[in-house]
């Protein structure tokens, strides 16, 4: 093929399209062995280097990986961080979470728009900048926040936004703006220069002192069955939200006869308001890898993957350094700690902006280089997961707990918390409280107790478990944070009485519409209808029967959706209907004349009026002009 083939020109406004040399695309593909299962890495690299994935690139990638162009396009068009139009040299992604909105996102956006001369959603004509919104980037404790290429900026003010924009316009790189000597900093120092940990309360298991690899050393003296018995006896349940018993999950995978087993870590915490894994990845990365190594020994896996959400790309170097260090010290690789036959290594798989990849089947699809679509169950991942092999997928916090249990014993962990919810849990607290940040407590705390600790006594509503969880009102603040009462993957979002509950609900529905993968009808289409219906309530155009409509449609989506996203996406509506009924009833108006408030006769006849070239006696915009 000819070298330096200029890529095809974009149609539309005159934007100079950078030429993408075919041999560079070929070379990127070769870096990943032309392996179609590494499609996400290939496309991420192309995006990073050339700022878009052109049709020509897709053809080259397809031919290198023996796929069709449409299959490559299917991946390229699925992930928010991959673009099929050229992006600016600097892409600024403003975190558009409800917390950021309440913390002044609009003024931040305005400051960037003014300084950069582009609107949100646009790329500057000289391709210097792209400005866009992105859902929760895991910084709710220090909102408003943004990503500037791979760098995270938090606690933004309009002034700070202007300073950033001016420095960027002056040619400084985002890294240089964070620190003049960014390159000299350790990966950990780089991460903490961008993002605060905000650890507010350290518990006994994860955030207190943790000895190096003590759990792994214990595991070496145990058989795989003993390890799994210990994890099961501790009562540890998955900390990502679903709460499946970890020991049993490992046993299912171990029992599956196969040529290979895999251990995958779900570090794709995308539930708005959740940021606990961010802190563990920053402060306890060794503990995480230790936990994965123990899991590998238990189930007989030799390979693993940490699936890191695209928004946490600023932590990639930190994790890679930890992996390299552990390899150098014989804690990863062949014959771990000198034990013949105990081989385990892992790689980091970067995500690219897709909440659904936190669903374990979707996470596996994404690791396989596919669009992040959940897989049909059965088979379950423990039976046939990554590339068809038995696979354990656990959350970051779960692996960290497992390592600690091996060190301190099952009973130690079991004795904390309460029946059915053992050990401690990390809570990411954000919103209207004095001390947002990370809290580690044994299960069983009441919301009141937590609110007192975080300085959120004025709360009128608390969103437990993020949008897919439960929104509760004051009359439920005596309830407890356990799997059997108020279950949460970690998010606790505090809202004061100043906040508009319907605004929050509308935002959460728009989030689910944005993040639905689109595979199944109810989630793809039904959530759009729910969002539109909430919009009617917000505008005061809802009828009393619209409350039944919301419940009815929610029920269908929950009962027929293919995965957990659709099975929980109506929760913001259902839990607020139940716990804040007055918010809805205050907004509905019974119609006197049988005409629905949403029916706008004036606009309905306007099109016909124009076609007929007639003026209207009922309504005619032209008369008033």
């Amino acid at each position: 093929m000819a070298t330096n083939t200029p890529d095809e020109q974009m149609t539309g406004p005159a934007v100079s399209v950078p030429s993408i040399p075919v041999e560079e695309i070929v070379s990127i593909c070769q870096t990943y062995g032309n392996d179609r299962h590494r499609m996400l890495d290939i496309l991420r690299d192309v995006q990073d280097r050339f700022r878009w994935i052109s049709p020509k690139v897709m053809e080259t990638v397809a031919s290198q990986t023996c796929l069709s162009r449409i299959e490559v396009e299917g991946v390229a068009s699925f992930y928010s961080f991959l673009s099929q139009t050229p992006k600016g040299r600097v892409t600024i992604r403003l975190c558009d979470d409800i917390i950021d909105r309440f913390a002044g996102l609009a003024a931040i956006a305005e400051a960037f728009e003014e300084e950069l001369g582009i609107k949100v959603g646009e790329t500057s004509p000289d391709e210097s900048f792209s400005l866009e919104y992105t859902p929760c980037i895991g910084m709710c404790d220090q909102a408003p926040a943004a990503m500037v290429n791979d760098v995270v900026v938090t606690k933004l003010t309009p002034d700070l936004a202007r300073q950033w924009a001016q420095s960027l316009k002056a040619g400084k790189s985002p890294e240089e703006i964070v620190s003049d000597r960014f390159a000299d900093l350790s990966p950990h120092a780089r991460a903490t220069a961008q993002v605060d940990n905000n650890i507010r309360h350290a518990g006994a298991v994860l955030l207190g002192p943790v000895p190096d690899d003590a759990g792994l050393k214990t595991a070496l003296g145990l058989t795989p069955v003993q390890i799994m018995d210990m994890i099961e006896a501790s009562g540890l349940r998955g900390c990502g939200g679903a709460g499946f018993t970890t020991g049993r999950k490992w046993k299912f995978a171990a029992a599956e006869k196969a040529e290979k087993h895999f251990v995958l870590c779900n570090a794709d915490e995308g539930e708005p308001g959740t940021f606990k894994d961010r802190v563990l990845l920053t402060e306890r990365p060794h503990l995480l890898v230790e936990g994965m190594t123990i899991a590998a020994r238990a189930v007989g896996a030799r390979e693993g993957i940490i699936y890191l959400r695209g928004e946490y790309v600023y932590l990639r170097d930190l994790i890679e350094e930890v992996l390299a260090d552990r390899r150098a010290r014989g804690l990863l690789g062949e014959a771990i700690l000198g034990v013949e036959g105990f081989d385990f290594d892992l790689r980091v798989q970067m995500g690219a902006g897709a909440y659904i990849c936190g669903e374990e089947g979707a996470l596996i699809s994404s690791c396989e280089g596919l669009p992040g679509e959940p897989k049909t169950r059965p088979p379950f991942p423990v039976n046939r997961g990554y590339l068809g092999y038995p696979t354990v997928v656990n959350n970051v916090e779960t692996f960290c707990h497992a390592a600690r249990i091996l060190d301190r014993g099952a009973q130690w962990f079991f004795d904390m918390g309460e029946e059915g919810s053992h050990g401690t849990k990390l809570f990411s607290v954000s919103g209207d409280c004095l001390n947002p940040g990370l809290y580690e407590f044994p299960y069983g705390l009441t919301i009141n107790e937590l609110l007192e600790m975080v300085g959120g006594e004025d709360a009128a509503a608390v969103q437990v478990g993020g949008p897919s969880g439960t929104m509760i009102a004051r009359d439920s603040f005596h309830r407890r944070l356990t799997f059997d009462d108020l279950a949460t993957g970690g998010a606790i979002i505090v809202f004061s009485g100043e906040r508009n509950v319907l605004e929050i609900v509308e935002y959460y529905m728009s989030f689910f519409v944005h993040e639905s993968c689109g595979y199944c009808t109810p989630c793809r289409v039904g959530n759009v209808f729910l969002q539109k219906a909430i919009g009617k309530f917000r505008k005061g155009l809802a009828n009393p029967e619209d409350i039944d409509y919301l419940k009815d449609l929610s029920g269908t989506i929950i009962e027929t959706s293919r995965c957990g996203l659709g099975m929980t996406s109506p929760n913001p509506i259902l839990t607020t209907l139940k716990n804040f009924p007055l918010v809805y009833s205050a907004m509905v108006k019974p119609s006197k004349d049988g005409i629905r408030a949403t029916f706008d006769i004036q606009s309905a006849i306007d099109g016909a009026r124009h076609l007929a070239k007639r003026r209207s006696y009922i309504y005619d915009e032209d008369f008033s002009k």
């Binding site: 669009p371 519409v513 689109g518 199944c520 209808f529 009962e559």
Partner: protein, 239 residues
């Protein structure tokens, strides 16, 4: 029936399944029809439209992908499940532009036929999303109107697995997910009117249109003039 065969019930009717069969496959063999749109004989199961939702021991599952299990109690045509299905079919009607009176698939359309079977007689309650994607009439023999697409993906699987071509694929995410072609337009793919993917049995609606053959079948002789959708499967049992 062999030793390994599984027995279970659908709406009280005893069904025998071979090991590895899904609930739907076993039901089809037994002459019990479970409504479906994205599933089609000879193609891989997808489990995307969810119209085949049934309750297996009380739990919602897609009958096309859920393995039959011994002793399982499956509910299929209950008023509640048919209501869920009607909602799903209505969602598909409202997601695209489905104007039956002007569509050449009318009478042969599975979406329309499913609406009749599920007695979708009243005015529907959802808002219309009214997509306006360009018609792809580039190909000599085939036209594509993806505004009528219900994202069943049958053409994708037929082209890839049966024709060995890969003319179609999904692109985008969420409500923007849609079927697209492997090239600039259909004329720039290796699509051919003789492909299984282009045959009138694969596209359940009027999205893939074969040119110059429309409206050839008189009303009264179209596929679903003969009976409600599912009549062939149900006929096995009655017959």
């Amino acid at each position: 029936m062999t030793d390994q065969d599984i027995t279970f019930t659908i709406d009280g009717v005893a069904i025998t399944a071979k090991p590895g069969q899904t609930i739907m496959e076993a039901a089809d063999d037994a002459g019990v029809y479970i409504p479906r749109l994205c599933d089609h004989e000879g193609l891989r199961h997808q489990g995307g439209c969810r119209v085949c939702t049934v309750k297996a021991n009380g739990r919602s599952v897609a009958a096309c992908t859920q393995p039959a299990a011994p002793g399982q109690t499956v509910e299929n045509e209950t008023p509640h499940i048919n209501k869920l299905r009607r909602d799903l079919v209505e969602m598909l009607f409202h997601e695209g532009n489905h104007l039956c009176p002007i569509c050449e698939a009318s009478g042969n359309c599975e979406l329309q036929a499913m609406a009749y079977r599920l007695e979708m007689g009243e005015p529907t309650k959802f808002p219309y999303l009214e997509p306006s994607r360009a018609l792809d009439a580039s190909h000599h023999d085939i036209a594509l109107d993806t505004n009528r697409c219900i994202s069943c993906g049958r053409c994708i699987r037929a082209s890839k697995d049966v024709d060995g071509k890969g003319v179609f694929g999904y692109v985008g995410r969420g409500i923007h997910r849609r079927v697209a072609v492997n090239g600039e337009d259909l004329a720039h793919t290796d699509a051919d009117a003789s492909d299984h993917a282009m045959s009138d049995e694969v596209c359940p609606v009027g999205c893939i249109i074969r040119k110059r053959v429309g409206f050839a079948t008189p009303i009264g002789e179209r596929e679903f003039d003969k009976g409600l959708i599912g009549y062939e499967i149900e006929g096995k049992r009655r017959g």
